[in-house]
């Protein structure tokens, strides 16, 4: 080991800022930048800031096929998920108290649903197949006359599988049930079109798409209105749905990041996919490894792999020259096996021996080759003194 920083293969946890995003944000933070409060429309400082915010709103809306007025700024996908789940549940409680989601959702959705359960709502958690995919029939069967919301993610943050949200949206729209999608991992990786996919609410975050941390958005369909109760109260910004002074520089950063993500999606994906395939070829060559999640319905930048016969903590430590994630970053503080991999039927031991490799805009072929060499060396070393059987 030397003192160099490890090779970053954890883009699904967060991405570095794209220099073009940083440049736009820095311009906002200069003394001659738009430092006014975007709500202060009575003077030029406020109006300049407001113009920046509205430009970013249009950029974010364009990336998902939405109208700008449907974008509500939040602090990130966690807040967006909470606002969507609890906001809909509380607003529509008189109509029904049943919600549908899945076991493999992000904790931001699952914990918001737990809160809804504490408030008297009932939640059905769909179990995906061993490939991580939830099929539309499963969803249709789970719906009830008192179902008010379906919340299902687009791209899974741990295993990278892509759910058929357009099919889910069609089913929900047919039955007049609101449909929320956690799309934190989607923008810049897969096309998102809220109209074509019949999505009513969609959570987004900037920092998974080379934007800044601390800013996100919730798409909220306006026509007909969704019906949403706020979870943060105060100055009534964002149409009363999310009070709090708007952070112009963060919002500008998200706008530029989403504009780039949208316009360069094809270019990014076609460059990253061969790198991911090269990494998988190297890993699968080690033998006795398993790819978690559907082999084809997946984003181009992510591999989640179980390494048979190697203990997870030792594997991570042995590979410390690589910045990878054991399960989700949000849950890697705990020693527990990933609940997503457990939901796919993996044993605790195998789930703990799994790593998530996520590539991104700045990953190079040289980095992938170094990663493969490190994997070859350390996996065979650890296996060389592992006992053969349980």
């Amino acid at each position: 080991m030397n003192d160099r920083l490890p090779i970053y293969l954890d883009y699904a946890a967060t991405t570095p800022l794209d220099p073009r995003v940083a440049e736009a944000m820095i311009a906002c933070l200069q003394s001659d930048g738009p430092h006014g409060n975007p709500s202060s429309m009575s003077h030029e400082y406020g109006r300049r800031a407001r113009a920046c915010v509205e430009k970013a709103r249009t950029q974010v809306a364009s990336a998902i096929g939405a109208k700008p007025e449907c974008i509500v700024w939040t602090s990130g996908a966690t807040e967006s998920d909470n606002l969507a789940v609890l906001g809909v549940a509380r607003f529509h409680a008189a109509k029904g108290k049943h919600l549908v989601s899945a076991r493999t959702e992000h904790k931001a959705v699952l914990d918001a649903l737990k809160q809804a359960e504490r408030e008297g709502f009932e939640v059905t958690y769909l179990k995906p197949g061993i490939d991580g995919i939830i099929n539309a029939e499963q969803l249709a069967e789970a719906l009830r006359p008192d179902t008010i919301l379906v919340s299902l993610m687009h791209v899974n943050n741990e295993i990278g599988v892509i759910q058929d949200v357009a099919a889910f949206g069609g089913i929900c729209r047919e039955r007049n049930i609101l449909f929320h999608v956690d799309a934190a991992q989607s923008v810049g990786k897969v096309p998102v079109d809220v109209e074509a996919m019949n999505i009513d609410l969609l959570s987004m975050t900037a920092h998974k798409a080379y934007g800044p941390k601390g800013i996100g958005a919730l798409y909220v369909r306006r026509k007909p209105p969704v019906g949403l109760r706020p979870i943060i109260f105060g100055g009534g910004q964002e149409g009363g749905l999310r009070s709090g002074t708007l952070a112009t520089h963060q919002i500008v950063g998200m706008g530029v990041a989403f504009e780039i993500a949208n316009s360069e999606q094809e270019q990014d994906c076609s460059r990253i996919e061969p790198l991911r395939d090269r990494l998988w070829k190297g890993i699968s060559g080690l033998g006795d490894v398993e790819l978690n999640g559907h082999p084809h319905s997946r984003v181009t930048n992510l591999l989640n792999v179980s390494f048979n016969g190697i203990e997870g903590e030792s594997l991570q430590f042995a590979l410390r020259e690589l910045a990878v994630s054991a399960g989700a970053a949000c849950s890697s503080a705990s020693d527990e096996a990933s609940y997503v991999l457990r939901a796919l039927g993996r044993s605790d031991a195998l789930a703990q021996s799994s790593l998530r490799f996520s590539l991104g805009r700045f990953t190079t072929a040289e980095e992938i080759d170094v990663a493969i060499a490190a994997l070859k060396r350390e996996v065979s070393r650890l296996r060389s003194f592992a006992p053969r059987s349980a």
Binding site: E311, E313, S314, A349, S384, F385, A386, P387
Partner: protein, 125 residues
């Protein structure tokens, strides 16, 4: 990674001593404890000559502390007799490796493997 390892752990993890297993023969005995499903497993093989361990190897499935503890132990098992194995305690290696309290149970599995080795000790020696 939030877990910190001391220099002894890193040294033994990167350069495990006596890793692997001995070829089975009339003078070799084996002590196994734990399981992969449990998350920790140790397998010791030793060659006993004249009532003492002449050579020893270990295999491990476990965290870096376990890998290092097994390695450290094998260096001390050379020359040990049956009574040494029966009296061996996990506490010394826990201190040397600064094993955190929540992981010390894993060293009990190592201790079980040492006891299993003692139980397998040939009667004639």
């Amino acid at each position: 990674m939030s877990i910190q390892y001391n220099a002894a752990v890193i040294d033994h993890f990167e350069h495990p001593r006596n890793a692997g297993q001995l070829l089975r023969g009339p003078e070799t005995v084996e002590g196994v404890a734990g399981s992969i499903a449990q998350g920790v497993m140790f397998a010791l093989t030793a060659r006993i000559v004249a009532g003492r361990i002449e050579d020893v190897r270990y295999e491990v499935f476990g965290c870096p502390h376990c890998v290092a503890a097994g390695s450290w132990l094998t260096e001390r098992l050379i020359g040990a007799d049956r009574a040494d194995l029966e009296n061996w305690s996990w506490r010394e290696v826990a201190d040397v490796m600064a094993v955190p309290a929540e992981k010390r149970g894993r060293l009990l599995i190592l201790e079980d493997a040492v006891r299993a080795l003692a139980s397998a000790w040939p009667n004639c020696t």
